[in-house]
């Protein structure tokens, strides 16, 4: 297990969102957490990425308690991309990606050839080398999201947590970002954990789905096993049919609802 939540209790102040949850992330897998709004999936991801300290239980990174490991050391192993991050205006793509090298820099050694090559590699991998000098705010939503992922890549970790990397993107850009995620996984066997809203895309691009409701894990496993009509009713209170995705053969959710 690369990353493990053991009996964690999570919340903000007096409000508990997740209580007594266990989850393990295996090395070299792409895992997606799904669930209705407010089910605690982002909260869980934040705790896995030590952005949120558990009120109870513990999070283990490679078997060691993440809150007892210096945060800078954690940053060399695990990269986190929070939901809808914002950058100062005028920041260029190259500057943003360069800031991913932060954990490797000290105040007396601000830039090394390692930093240089990590940034170049991240830009190339995300197909942004041509846009390196462009300000972030001039890019399309999909390019911008790729730039943020590129920053997380430059951090040089083989474990990546992405909180809703496709939010606010149109379908084409969602696919673009998820293709990149899959590519990152394929290229270096990176372990990736995401939160996604689109169930069909989640099923398509994921090795392992984790379905949450009310702060609990309802089901976890292969998308074929997790994404069932019963589960959709239980987790999303949605009546739907599941058919096979004609392209990939993965489960495809067809909501019933009303129709013309």
């Amino acid at each position: 297990m690369r990353l493990q939540a053991v009996d964690v209790k999570l919340g903000y102040g007096d409000r508990t969102i997740v209580d007594g949850l266990d989850l393990g992330i295996e090395a070299g897998t792409v895992t997606t957490i799904i669930g209705p709004n407010g089910c605690g999936k982002s909260t869980l991801l934040r705790a896995l990425g030590r952005l949120l300290r558990p009120q109870g239980g513990e999070v283990l990174l490679d078997g060691k308690r993440i809150d007892r490991t210096p945060t800078r050391e954690v940053a060399k192993i695990l990269g986190v991309l929070p939901q809808a991050p914002t950058a100062p205006e005028g920041l260029t793509v190259a500057d943003l990606v360069a800031r991913g090298r932060h954990p490797h820099q000290t105040w007396y050694r601000q830039w090394s050839s390692d930093d240089e090559s990590a940034v170049d590699e991240a830009l190339t991998m995300t197909g942004l080398a041509d846009l390196a000098e462009r300000p972030l705010d001039e890019l399309s939503g999909g390019q911008r999201q790729r730039a943020w992922i590129s920053m997380a890549l430059a951090q040089g970790t083989d474990l990546l947590l992405l909180d809703e990397p496709t939010t606010f993107l149109d379908l084409a850009h969602q696919v673009e970002v998820l293709e990149l995620v899959r590519h990152l996984h394929g290229a270096a066997g990176r372990t990736i954990v995401m939160v996604l809203h689109d169930l069909n895309l989640a099923a398509r691009y994921t090795d392992r789905l984790v379905a949450m409701r009310g702060g609990r894990v309802v089901a976890a496993g292969d998308p074929h096993e997790v994404l069932t009509e019963d589960l959709l009713r239980e987790v999303f209170e949605l009546d739907a049919k599941i058919i096979a995705d004609p392209v990939a053969g993965t489960p495809l959710v067809i909501p019933i609802g009303t129709h013309r």
């Binding site: 990425g49 986190v80 100062p88 500057d95 991913g100 830009l123 080398a129 000098e133």
Partner: protein
């Protein structure tokens, strides 16, 4: 696409940044020369050099060594301090309209000065400045503590700004009450409030120097962390930055820099508001360059405004704080209208 297109970047950028740094240093040097030679009594550069290197007690020597030099050095120090503090403050709050006085530092200094007069009978400039410094530090610590109440993992920019505004208003009310009741306090307060670097003497320079140097060091230590924080707290945390520590170092630096300059020169916080806006087109968003550039531009601006104040209303002088506000305000309006203020 090969990576060769990407690689030349940092070197070219680095070169340009160093050039700008040298140009700004040159601007400060020009400001220093003007400040030493121009005034109620203009001194030719040759005489000024004579006074600095081999004084023989001529009238010019005395004017330069006892008045112009301390005044100029104080201008440089206060300009550096306020420019850097303004850039730090705007960076930490991600608010382009934040000024270094936001933490209650200015009002803390003002209150401590007038309180020291009526409660302790303080009567010398050095004493006022010590009390002003202490007041600035205490107010800032108080604001920081208030900002932490109810917050998780250190104060946020919003709670800091709210606490700062509340504490400032409260202290301002107390200061106003005191100066209305006490004439001596009123005189000191009026003089201090206008903002001036004149007639401070070299003791004042030595008094504030250690605080400003410490503040400048803390500010530069803070720069990489502030770059991470500019991407949001979660991203910064993900990059392994200790948020509470970064905020604390930043607040400490702002407090030392603003506290020292405000205690010595009065309210010149406008420098801190305007300078980072002038500098950002040159430095970009990287605080490792934004902070030093802001310091240098702050120093040059303060010296220039002070020199203008000496010559516009002969035989008298206009306080540098007044000149800064008169020149700076319209300039700021133009700046805002031409270039929309950047989102931080």
């Amino acid at each position: 696409m090969t990576s060769t297109a990407v690689t030349p970047r940092p070197h070219g950028v680095q070169h340009r940044r160093l050039t700008v740094l040298l140009v700004l240093l040159g601007a400060v040097v020009i400001g220093v020369v003007l400040s030493i030679t121009i005034g109620a009594k203009s001194v030719p550069p040759a005489d000024a050099w004579h006074a600095l290197t081999a004084p023989t007690g001529t009238e010019n020597d005395i004017v330069i060594r006892s008045l112009r030099v301390p005044r100029t050095v104080l201008g440089v120090l206060a300009g550096l301090a306020l420019g850097v503090a303004g850039a730090l403050m705007q960076g930490h709050t991600r608010n382009p309209l934040a000024d270094p006085g936001l933490l209650g530092v200015t009002q803390g200094a003002a209150f401590a000065m007038v309180a020291s007069i009526i409660l302790l009978g303080a009567s010398s400039l050095l004493a006022y400045i010590w009390f002003g410094l202490a007041g600035a530090l205490i107010a800032s610590v108080g604001v920081f503590a208030l900002g932490m109440v109810g917050g998780r993992g250190g104060p946020t920019p919003v709670t800091l700004a709210l606490a700062g505004t509340a504490v400032s208003a409260f202290l301002y009310a107390l200061t106003s009450a005191i100066v209305l009741l006490d004439e001596q306090a009123m005189d000191v307060f009026r003089f201090w409030q206008a903002g001036s670097i004149a007639a401070r003497g070299s003791e004042v320079v030595w008094q504030v120097l250690p605080f400003i140097l410490a503040g400048l060091v803390l500010a530069m230590v803070n720069a990489p962390g502030l770059n991470a924080l500019a991407l949001g707290e979660d991203v910064a945390r993900g990059l392994g930055q200790n948020i509470a520590l970064t905020r604390t170092v930043g607040v400490a630096a702002v407090t030392l820099l603003t506290g020292a300059s405000v205690a010595a020169c009065g309210s010149l916080a406008f420098v801190g508001l305007i300078v980072p806006h002038l500098v950002r087109p040159l430095s970009g968003t990287d605080h490792r360059w934004l902070l030093p550039y802001s310091g240098l531009v702050g120093a040059a601006l303060l010296l220039l405004a002070d020199v203008i104040g000496r010559v516009v209303a002969p035989p008298g002088e206009l306080e540098v704080g007044v000149v800064l506000a008169l020149l700076g305000a319209p300039f700021f309006v133009v700046l805002v209208r031409r270039r929309k203020p950047v989102r931080l």
